[in-house]
Symmetry: C2
Subunit: 351 residues, 2 copies
C-alpha cells in the first residue's frame, strides 16, 4: 500500500492541551459487544451483540475479554466492508496487567500495533492517537479498540468473585464489553458515517489525594473537570456549544463531584452532562450502585448510543471524555493515592 502524503490540515489551538482538526477524520463504522448484565440494562437493544454467557466460549475470564476485542474489531470491519489488511494501525488497550486482553485479542489481525494504557480513559486515548495518525497523513484507515470484563477486573483489582465481598454504594460495576471504531480520512459522496472527529483535548494527570478504590468516580472527577475546562478555554467554547458533554464512567458520585468542580470554575454543565456509567445500567433494579465503569463502558455506550444520536443528527456536537483511575492492586496495597486521567474527543454530526 503506497499512500500519498496529505497537506497540513490541522491547527493547534491556543492553550496547550487541545488540537483542532480541519481535515476530515471520520468514524466510518463501529461495533459494540457486551455481556449478560449489560444486555439486561436500558441500552440492551442498541448493542450490536449481547453474549448469552459471560465466558464467551472461553476457558477463563481473560480469554473471554480477548474474544470481546477480537469480535468487536471483526464486526466493525465487517460493517465498514473493510479487511484487517486495510488498516494501517491498530490502537488498543484494556485494564488488565500488561494489557493481555488486547495482546491476545488482536494478535491474529497482523496490524501494526500501538498498545495503550489510560485505565478506563483508554477509549478516548485510542481515538486521540488514531485521529492524530489520520490527520498527520500517517494512515488512511485505523482501528481503535478497548475492552473490560467484570470478572477479569474484579480479579485484577479487588477480590476473587467466590469471596463475595460487599461493595459500598460509591462503588461502580465493571462493564463486560468491547467497542471498536474504524477511522478513515475520506468518505464516498453522501456516504453515511457515524461521526466526524473535529478535535481532541489531552488530559493531564490529576491527583487530589484520594485513596478509596471503592469510590473511583471521585478519584476521576478532577481529571474530567480539567479536560472539560481546558476544552472550553482552548476552543473558546462554553457548555451551550455542546449538545452533550459525556464522561466515561464517573457514576453518580463522580458526576456530583464533577458538576461541583466545574461550577467552582464558573461553568454549569448540569444540562449537557451525561455519563456512560449512569446510562448503561438501571442502578436500582440491577444493583450496580454508582454505575458502570471500565474501558468497555465508555466504548460500548459510545458505539451503541452516543454515535447513534450523532449519526441521526439529534446531537450535532458532543464532547466525549472517558476517564481513568490510575491504580493497581500493588499501588493500592502500598497506600498510594489514586490519580485520574481523562482524554477528550470532540465528535460532530456529518450531514
Amino acid at each position: 500500500m503506497i499512500q500519498k502524503p496529505t497537506t497540513t490540515l490541522h491547527t493547534i489551538q491556543k492553550g496547550k492541551q487541545s488540537l483542532q482538526y480541519e481535515t476530515d477524520i471520520f468514524i466510518k463504522e463501529s461495533a459494540s459487544i457486551v455481556g449478560t448484565k449489560e444486555g439486561q440494562g436500558p441500552l440492551a437493544d442498541l448493542f450490536d451483540m449481547v453474549g448469552s454467557d459471560d465466558m464467551f466460549g472461553c476457558p477463563n475470564w481473560e480469554a473471554a475479554e480477548s474474544t470481546l476485542q477480537k469480535d468487536a474489531v471483526y464486526m466493525a470491519l465487517g460493517k465498514a466492508k473493510l479487511k484487517p489488511s486495510d488498516m494501517r494501525y491498530i490502537f488498543a488497550g484494556d485494564l488488565l496487567g500488561q494489557s493481555i486482553a488486547s495482546s491476545y485479542g488482536i494478535l491474529n489481525y497482523e496490524i501494526p500495533y500501538f498498545g495503550l494504557f489510560g485505565a478506563c480513559s483508554t477509549c478516548g486515548e485510542s481515538l486521540s492517537l488514531g485521529s492524530m495518525a489520520i490527520c498527520g497523513g500517517f494512515a488512511d484507515k485505523v482501528v481503535c479498540v478497548t475492552s473490560s470484563h467484570f470478572a477479569s477486573a474484579e480479579k485484577e483489582f479487588r477480590f476473587p468473585l467466590e469471596y463475595g465481598n460487599q461493595r459500598p454504594l460509591s462503588a461502580t460495576w465493571t462493564v463486560t464489553g468491547s467497542g471498536a471504531f474504524v477511522l478513515t480520512n475520506s468518505r464516498e459522496k453522501n456516504e453515511k458515517v457515524r461521526a466526524r472527529i473535529t478535535g481532541i483535548t489531552t488530559g493531564v494527570i490529576q491527583d487530589y489525594g484520594l485513596k478509596d478504590s471503592m469510590n473511583m468516580g471521585a478519584c476521576m472527577a478532577p481529571a474530567a473537570s480539567n479536560v472539560i475546562y481546558q476544552n472550553f478555554m482552548d476552543f473558546d467554547r462554553s457548555p451551550k456549544d455542546y449538545d452533550k458533554i459525556i464522561t466515561g464512567d464517573l457514576g453518580t458520585v463522580g458526576q456530583a463531584a464533577l458538576l461541583e468542580l466545574l461550577r467552582d470554575q464558573g461553568f454549569d454543565i448540569a444540562e449537557q452532562h451525561m455519563d456512560c456509567g449512569i446510562e448503561i445500567y438501571d442502578a436500582q433494579k440491577q444493583d450496580t450502585h454508582a454505575g458502570g465503569s471500565g474501558c468497555g463502558c465508555a466504548a460500548t455506550v459510545l458505539s451503541a448510543y452516543v454515535l447513534k444520536q450523532i449519526e441521526e443528527g439529534i446531537w450535532k456536537r458532543v464532547l466525549f471524555i472517558p476517564t481513568g483511575a490510575l491504580l493497581s492492586k500493588t499501588s493500592f496495597n502500598e497506600g498510594q493515592n489514586i490519580p485520574g486521567i481523562a482524554h477528550g474527543v470532540v465528535l460532530e454530526h456529518v450531514s
Copy 2:
C-alpha cells in the same frame, strides 16, 4: 502556546509498516539513570547517574521505579535547558501492571500524557508516537520516558526476591534504569543534537507458540526479525545501509534466533547486529546469564551509548529496535503463549 501548523513533510513508504520522515525530528537531549548492578557493568561510565542504592530513597520498589522516571525526565529537560511546561506531550510506559511506575513518576510534571504499553519495546513505541506527533505538527517538543526495575519486575512477573529462585541460563536480568528523550522539530544553527529520527517501522505481534518466560529472548526474536525485514523492504535497504542494527533485550539466546530467522529470509546482519541487553552487563562476571532486559535496558543504553556514537558521527545511521514480550503472570499461569512485539526507529547522525 499557539503553534503554527507545519506543511506536510513526510511520506509513507511502500509496504504497510513504515513511515519515512522528511521533516526535522531531533532527539535534542536525553538522560539515563541506572541502579547499582548496571553501575558495575561495562557501560558504567557512560550513564548520567548511577544510584548508590536501588531503593533510590523510596519506601518500596515501585516508588523507586517511579523516581527513576521522574529524575530521568528532569535530567533530560535540564540538559536541554527546557521546562516541563515547554513539553506539549509526554509519552511514557513501563512493565508494571497498570503502568504505575509511569503514572506516579510523571504526574507532577502536568504534561498532557499518553500512557503506552509495549512491554520492553515501549521505548521504541514512545519514540515512534512522539516522532509522529512532531512530524504531524501536533507538537514542537515532546518528551518520551520508559523504565524498569529489577526488583519490581521480579515481583510482578516471577517470584518474591526472598524466595531466591534459580534462573536458567536463557533467562535475562531486568535492568534497573530509566531513559528519557526530548524530541524537537528544530534546532539552532549548528546546535549539537543527539540524533535525528528519519523513520519508523511499527511492529506486528508475532506469536511463534513459545511459552517459556525464562527464555524471553526466543519469544521476542520473531518480532525483531519481522520489523528488521519489513524495514529493509519498506525503505529498500539492506544490512549494509546501517552502521548498526540494535535490538533492545534479546540477549544471547534471542540474538542467535534473530540471526537465524533473518538468514532464512536472505539477510545476514551478524556484522551490524548489537543487542542492548548483551552490552549492559558482563554476563560472566555479573552472573546475568543471557543479558539485560526491560523497558529500561533499551532506553538507558540508547541514551548513554548508542546516541553518543551517533552524535559523534562514529555511526551515521542506526536501526534501533526495542523488543517486548507480551505476557503477564496471569496469562503465563493460564498457559498462554508469549507473543512478541517490536518497534523500529531509524536514527541518523546530524552534522
